[in-house]
Subunit: 191 residues, 2 copies
DNA sequence: CGCTAGGGTTAGGGTTCA
DNA sequence: TTGAACCCTAACCCTAGC
């Protein structure tokens, strides 16, 4: 058969994201021919880009499928243990951040009054926006391509320029960047 | 719950084998739709076929040759790797179609004049080796010192001789050389 | 033909269960 | 503990419509 199956690397994903920012989603052939990305994506086809973008855009499990109380429940067994946070894949640049991330974004007054004994599992489903923010930051940094790392302001400007941002976005971003850098997920953010 | 685990019968296994002989491994849906087998395999899905074939293909206690590194590579620790080339993961999505285009690059001698790709500033993650591959190519060319530049086969041989190379290394190298020459980073010299 | 969108299929890691 | 059976889904294929 043909190719054994090539997993996308973080580098390639970053290039694709940057390419979409620059040329727009749907301009796969254009992105591929852009010298800025061809060096990284030279092994991929325009269709590969399209497919990858499609499943990158699929948000983590859309809730709603209540028809299965399946596997997710299963992984509760050991919960008393002070198990260290499971390490994520290291090859990712700004990876999906494990739980301890909430500190800055969780202001939500989730009104779940009569919860007798809330199962404080590590498992939940909240951090959608957090993952998203990681992606945006990555996108900003890769697009800005400033030697030595981009500064906070530039990153904020970039994101606000490309997307709609909520009123307190700067505060959130600031906290996020602080977390990412202090935890070693981002090398450094100048200034 | 739903599926109590359906053991495969000898008849089903025979049908699967015959199906693979007739249509080839990987053509699971095709096998399933073939009237010759659908009467027997009607309880199975294409995925079932694939899984069963995988199980059947597992050789008894094969301490697989060079494939043992798979597990080791799964989760890369956070640190700079001192080892030479380790893992490449790439390939075009070209199927078994005779890409005459790519073959034309074969045997074309090349000489250097290169420039490395700029690394990204996001975190010292184990990055995949586009840069390293450039270095290896350069090393090969300079070491070989062939007047007029080295051809692709010689470069591949040199690298494979000096380092461990993944199974589809030649394809990767081929694509890389094609990119480097077409983008002007390597100058092709007529033999 | 080349390209993109979108549905369909496969490959391979992971999980469950006897 | 092991391996067969089954699940999840990224990666890849096929094809209609332009």
């Amino acid at each position: 058969m043909g190719a054994p199956k090539q997993k996308w690397t973080a580098e390639e994903e970053a290039a694709l994201k940057a390419g979409v920012v620059k040329h727009g989603a749907g301009k796969w052939r254009t992105i591929l021919k852009d010298p800025e990305f061809s060096g990284i994506l030279y092994l991929r086809s325009n269709v590969d880009l399209k497919d990858k973008w499609r499943n990158m855009s699929v948000m983590p499990n859309a809730l709603g499928s209540r028809e299965k109380s399946r596997v997710t429940l299963k992984r509760v067994p050991v919960q008393v243990q002070p198990t260290p946070i499971k390490q994520e894949e290291v090859t990712t640049s700004v990876s999906d951040v494990p739980q301890s991330d909430e500190e800055m974004l969780d202001d939500k007054p989730v009104a779940s009054s009569s919860a007798p004994n809330p199962p404080m599992q590590i498992e939940a489903a909240p951090k959608r926006s957090i993952v998203r923010l990681d992606d945006l930051i990555l996108e900003a940094i890769t697009s800005l391509k400033e030697p030595g790392g981009s500064n906070k302001t530039a990153i904020a400007s970039y994101i606000e320029d490309q997307y709609w941002a909520p009123p307190d976005f700067k505060r959130v971003l600031s906290a996020k960047l602080k977390f990412l850098t202090s935890s070693g997920k981002l090398i450094r953010v100048s200034k």
